[in-house]
C-alpha cells in the first residue's frame, strides 16, 4: 500500500517550520540528564525547536528558561554545560529561580526603570519533567500532561531504567545529512536489521516482529481530530521493552563493576516519539541515549549519550569502558546513518511515494497523524 509521506515532508523548509511549531513546540522532548545539573548553579544549554534554552540548578531546584537576556538579547549561559550563576555576561543582569530579574547593576542611576517595569522583567519559563535521571521539556505555554503523550507502562519502565543510570556520562554529536523523520521510521522497522546490520547488530541480537492484520494499517482517516483525540492517537507511537533476543551477555570485567538494571538477558529499546531512542543491548549493564535533533529539512544532529548502570565504586578506567562501547555503538549507527543519508540524497519532489507492507503499521499510524497535523489547522 502507498505511504502518506510525500517527498515534500523531507525536503520542504515550510513543512520543517510547521513541524517545529505544531509538533516540537507542543510535545515533551528529551532535554538532558540530571547528572549534568546535579549541583547548585550547574547548567546545560540547548536549542530546542529554534529556542535557546538554559536548564539550571538553583539550590537543588532545576528550572528551564529561555536562554536570552531581557536587556540586549545575549545568551545568559554559554557552552553545552557548566557551573555558573544565572548572570548575563554582557551587562551583568542576574536572574533568580523564578526567572525574575534579581539584580541590575546601577539600575537606578543609568536605566531608570519604573518599579512596574522592573517587576515585569521575567524570563520565559518552560515546563520540565524528570523521569529517573532524564529531563524532558515542553516549550508550550499550556503544556499537555506528560501522561497524555506517553503511556504509563512506557514511562514506568523507562523511569526504572533511568534510575539506574550512572553519573559518569559520555556525550558526542554526529551531524547527519537527512531528515529527522527518516530516523524514527528506521527505528520502527526491525526488518532492516538483518540486511543493513547483517554483520554487526544482527550477529548478536534477533528482533522478532509481526505483520499485523488489516485493521491496524491506518487505511482510513483519523476519527477523532480534536486536541485530546490527536494527543491520544500519538500515545502508541512511543513504546519500549525487551524487544530483542540476545545470547548470554559476554562476561567482561567491567560488568562486575556496575549494579545491573534488572536481570533479563535481552536487548531493550525505548522509542519516545518524536526524537528519542534509548537502547540497552546487554540486558541492563549500559545504555545509549540517541537524541535526534532536527536542524534543517535535510539535516539532523544525532546527540549520543553513553552511560553504564551505576558503578559500585569509582575506578580509573571507567571512561575507557564508555569509549569502547561508544565506538561499538558507532559502528552500528553509522550503518543506519549512511543509509539514511543515501535515502535523503535520492529524494526529490517528484520521487516515487514509498510503498509499505503490513509490518510497517506503526509508521503508517504515525504518518496518518502527522499528515493530519501538517495538512490541516488541527492542533495537539
Amino acid at each position: 500500500m502507498q505511504s502518506r509521506m510525500h517527498p515534500k515532508y523531507y525536503l520542504s523548509q515550510e513543512i520543517f517550520d510547521r513541524e517545529q511549531i505544531k509538533i516540537f513546540r507542543k510535545v515533551w522532548l528529551f532535554a538532558g540528564l540530571t547528572s549534568l545539573v546535579a549541583e547548585n548553579n550547574a547548567f546545560i544549554t540547548r536549542k530546542i525547536a529554534g529556542i535557546p534554552v538554559v536548564i539550571q540548578n538553583f539550590k537543588g531546584e532545576i528550572k528551564a528558561f529561555e536562554n536570552i537576556c531581557l536587556h540586549r538579547s545575549a545568551p545568559l549561559q554559554q557552552g553545552f554545560c557548566g557551573r555558573r550563576a544565572l548572570v548575563c555576561p554582557y551587562h551583568a543582569w542576574s536572574y533568580d529561580a523564578t526567572g525574575a530579574v534579581k539584580n541590575i547593576p546601577d539600575c537606578e542611576a543609568i536605566y531608570r526603570f519604573s518599579a512596574d517595569e522592573k517587576q515585569s522583567l521575567k524570563l520565559r519559563e518552560f515546563a520540565l519533567k524528570q523521569v529517573g535521571s532524564m529531563l524532558f521539556i515542553n516549550l508550550s505555554t499550556e503544556p499537555m500532561a506528560f501522561e497524555e503523550q506517553f503511556k504509563p507502562e512506557f514511562v514506568a519502565l523507562m523511569e526504572s531504567a533511568a534510575q539506574s543510570f550512572d553519573t559518569e556520562v559520555m556525550v558526542t554529536t554526529w551531524h547527519g545529512k537527512f531528515n529527522w523523520k527518516l530516523v524514527y521510521e528506521n527505528l520502527r522497522d526491525f526488518n532492516h536489521v538483518k540486511f543493513l546490520h547483517a554483520k554487526s547488530l544482527a550477529a548478536i541480537a534477533d528482533f522478532p516482529f509481526e505483520a499485523p492484520i488489516q485493521a491496524d494499517l491506518a487505511l482510513t482517516p483519523l476519527e477523532d481530530i480534536s486536541i485530546p483525540g490527536l494527543r491520544k492517537a500519538m500515545r502508541p507511537f512511543s513504546y519500549g521493552g525487551p524487544e530483542g533476543k540476545i545470547d548470554a551477555v559476554r562476561p567482561v570485567p567491567w560488568l562486575n563493576m556496575v549494579e545491573r538494571w534488572g536481570t533479563e538477558d535481552a536487548y531493550f529499546n525505548w522509542l519516545a516519539y518524536p526524537n528519542l531512542h534509548i537502547a540497552c543491548g546487554n540486558g541492563g549493564y549500559s545504555f545509549t541515549i540517541e537524541h535526534h535533533i532536527p536542524i534543517a529539512p535535510g539535516q539532523t544532529d544525532i546527540e549520543i549519550y553513553f552511560i553504564t548502570a551505576k558503578k559500585k565504586q569509582p575506578y580509573a578506567a571507567s571512561y575507557q569502558v564508555l569509549l569502547s562501547n561508544m565506538h561499538y555503538s558507532k559502528t552500528i549507527l553509522t550503518e543506519d546513518i549512511d543509509m539514511l543519508e543515501q535515502v535523503q540524497s535520492a529524494l526529490h519532489i517528484d520521487a516515487p511515494i514509498p510503498t509499505q507492507g503490513a509490518y510497517e503499521s506503526t509508521n503508517r499510524q504515525i504518518e496518518r497523524w502527522y499528515t493530519e497535523l501538517m495538512e490541516t489547522e488541527h492542533e495537539i
Binding site: 556520562v169 559520555m170 569502547s324
Partner: protein, 207 residues
C-alpha cells in the same frame, strides 16, 4: 648474558623488540607475547618463568584501552621485582637533564627539550618533538611526528596522535585523546576525545 624480555602484544611489541635488539649487543633480547582472552584479560602465567636476577623486563603494549593495558602489565612486572629500564634510542636527541621514568620508550629522531620530565610507562614515538620544560605524566602515548610546544603538561593516559600540534603552555587533561590532525591551542579537559571518525569531540562529564 643477561636477558632483556620485551613483553607485550601487537605491533608496538614488535617495534620495541627490534629497537632493543639493535641497541643491546650485550643482552639476550627476547620477545614475549602475552595473550589476551575473549574478555580482554591478560594471561599472566608467562611471568612465572621470568626472574629479576636473570634479566629485566620492558613492557610493550600499545595505547589500547587508553594505555591502561600497558599500565596493567607494568604494575605486574613492578610487583614481581623487575627494574623496568627505559629505552632511549641512540638516534634520539634527549636533553641531558631531562628526567625519564621507568619503562619509557623514546624512538629514533625524537627530540626531548631541556628540563622535560617524561614519567613512567610513557611512549614517545619516532620523530616526535617535545618542547622544553614540558611534562608528560605516566602512561602517555605520543605518536610519530607529533609536535608539542614548550611548557606543555600532558595528563596521565593521554594519547596524542600523528598530525597533532600542541601549542606551548597548553594543559592536556588526563585520558584525553588528540586524534584530529590540527593545532590544539586551548587547554583540553580530562577525558576529551578527538577521534577522526567523529564529527565532534567526545566529552565526559561527572564521575
Amino acid at each position: 648474558m643477561k636477558s632483556r624480555w620485551v613483553v607485550g602484544t601487537g605491533d608496538y611489541l614488535d617495534l620495541a623488540y627490534h629497537a632493543w635488539t639493535q641497541a643491546s649487543a650485550t643482552e639476550d633480547v627476547q620477545k614475549i607475547t602475552v595473550p589476551q582472552g575473549a574478555d580482554y584479560e591478560f594471561d599472566l602465567s608467562i611471568f612465572d618463568t621470568l626472574h629479576p636476577e636473570l634479566g629485566d623486563v620492558f613492557i610493550a603494549v600499545d595505547d589500547r584501552f587508553g594505555n591502561f593495558k600497558r599500565m596493567e602489565l607494568f604494575r605486574v612486572a613492578l610487583e614481581r621485582g623487575f627494574t623496568l629500564s627505559s629505552f632511549v634510542s641512540a638516534n634520539a636527541d634527549v636533553a641531558s637533564e631531562a628526567k625519564i621514568g621507568k619503562n619509557v620508550f623514546i624512538g629514533p629522531q625524537a627530540i626531548i627539550g631541556h628540563h622535560c620530565k617524561i614519567e613512567y610507562n610513557s611512549v614517545v614515538h619516532a620523530g616526535a618533538q617535545i618542547g622544553a620544560n614540558s611534562h608528560l605524566r605516566a602512561s602517555v602515548w605520543i605518536e610519530p611526528g607529533v609536535q608539542i610546544g614548550s611548557r606543555v603538561e600532558i595528563g596521565t593516559h593521554a594519547i596524542i596522535r600523528t598530525g597533532a600540534i600542541v601549542r606551548s603552555g597548553i594543559k592536556v587533561g588526563k585520558g584525553a585523546e588528540l586524534g584530529w590532525p590540527q593545532l590544539y591551542s586551548a587547554d583540553i579537559a580530562d577525558k576529551t576525545v578527538y577521534d577522526t571518525r567523529y564529527d565532534e569531540p567526545i566529552l565526559v562529564y561527572g564521575s
